[in-house]
């Protein structure tokens, strides 16, 4: 059985925007793979359509059946990891064996706060006040 692994330096799972995400990918495959691709991406999940955006990626060509490589990605300034009422935006690293089904994923938090940003419901919007301009009709 194939094994794909992503080890993050210092077992970190929380990063500030602009930080470097660094670590090592390890693979032991039952059959040689054409390439391995490491992707840093964010994705949304919740009530509506899901979005996925790959922010950084690195391809390891002809990786053979086993090996390991170090990697380093610079995180962009945003978006932050957050959860509101309608969607969660989460960051992940994914190692994919190409072509094939093998994948390994590690979730990380990218935010200026110690945990993902939590958006609170604002509740009902206040009733707008009617402002009259001009002479008042009687």
């Amino acid at each position: 059985m194939s094994e794909l692994r992503i080890d993050l330096d210092g077992n970190r799972s929380h990063f500030l925007p602009g930080d470097d995400v660094a670590g090592r990918v390890v693979w032991r495959l039952t059959e040689p793979s054409e390439a391995l691709e490491l992707r840093l991406f964010w994705h949304t999940s919740g009530k509506g359509t899901e979005d996925v955006v790959i922010a950084r990626s690195h391809r390891f060509d002809a990786p053979g059946t086993y090996g390991e490589q170090e990697f380093r990605f610079r995180l962009p300034a945003g978006p932050y990891s957050f959860s509101g009422t309608l969607i969660t935006l989460a960051w992940s690293l994914e190692l994919v064996s190409l072509p094939g089904e093998g994948t390994e994923r590690v979730d990380i938090v990218v935010a200026p706060t110690p945990v993902e940003v939590r958006l609170q419901s604002l509740g009902r919007p206040p009733k707008s006040e009617i402002i009259r301009i001009g002479p008042v009709r009687r």
Binding site: S45, G46, K47, G48, T49, E50, S83, G84, T85, L86, I87, T88, A90, R118, S121
Partner: protein
């Protein structure tokens, strides 16, 4: 407050529900599709599982699957969606055209000219007409209960699903959206 990604009625979990139908199984529908030279329509009202079934059929047929969503909720304008088709459609392609009723007669004719070389074409719509019907989707409260039980057994116990089904006139998509809100606003 529950995180959206953990909400049992988040779209990723709802869309992952497999097609269910008491009257026919997927193998029968594949046979029907094959007997119609790989052309068929799935029809039914809003939220009755047309897209789910079309996707299940395409997955079973295999090939290079091309999905075109023309539903009223699509983000792209119709013309750019149609332009996203492969330049050359070949027998290896399996096309899912979701929301075919959005196309007028001329647009349908142009689209069909583009698609007709595909090995398989499955369209969805609210009414029969464009391609021979392979299945007419319908819903009932028992189906809703069965699907909800798979996503969140607690909701089946605590929520009046018959009333929900009736209020949304059998549109399961709207039922799931309301249940999403129920879970999103519930404590814990």
């Amino acid at each position: 407050m529950i995180r959206p990604v953990d909400n049992p009625f988040a779209s990723r979990y709802v869309e992952a529900l497999p097609f269910r139908c008491a009257a026919s199984n997927l193998d029968d529908l594949i046979d029907r599709l094959v007997s119609q030279q790989g052309r068929g329509a799935v029809v039914g009202p809003h939220g009755s599982g047309k897209t789910t079934l079309a996707e299940a059929l395409a997955q079973r047929v295999g090939g290079d699957i091309v999905r075109i969503h023309l539903g009223t909720e699509t983000r792209q304008p119709l013309t750019s969606t149609i332009r996203s088709l492969p330049r050359v459609v070949e027998p290896r392609h399996t096309i899912v055209l979701d929301g075919a009723e959005q196309l007028g007669p001329v647009a349908w004719w142009r689209t069909w000219r583009q698609l007709r070389s595909a090995g398989t074409v499955v369209i969805t719509g609210h009414k029969p007409g464009r391609l021979p019907v392979i299945h007419e989707c319908s819903t009932d409260p028992d189906l809703l209960r069965e699907l909800v039980a798979e996503l969140s057994p607690e909701i089946v116990e605590t929520f009046d699903l018959d009333e929900l089904f009736s209020r949304h006139q059998g549109n399961l998509r709207l039922c799931f959206r309301e249940l999403y809100d129920v879970c999103a606003t519930s404590e814990g």
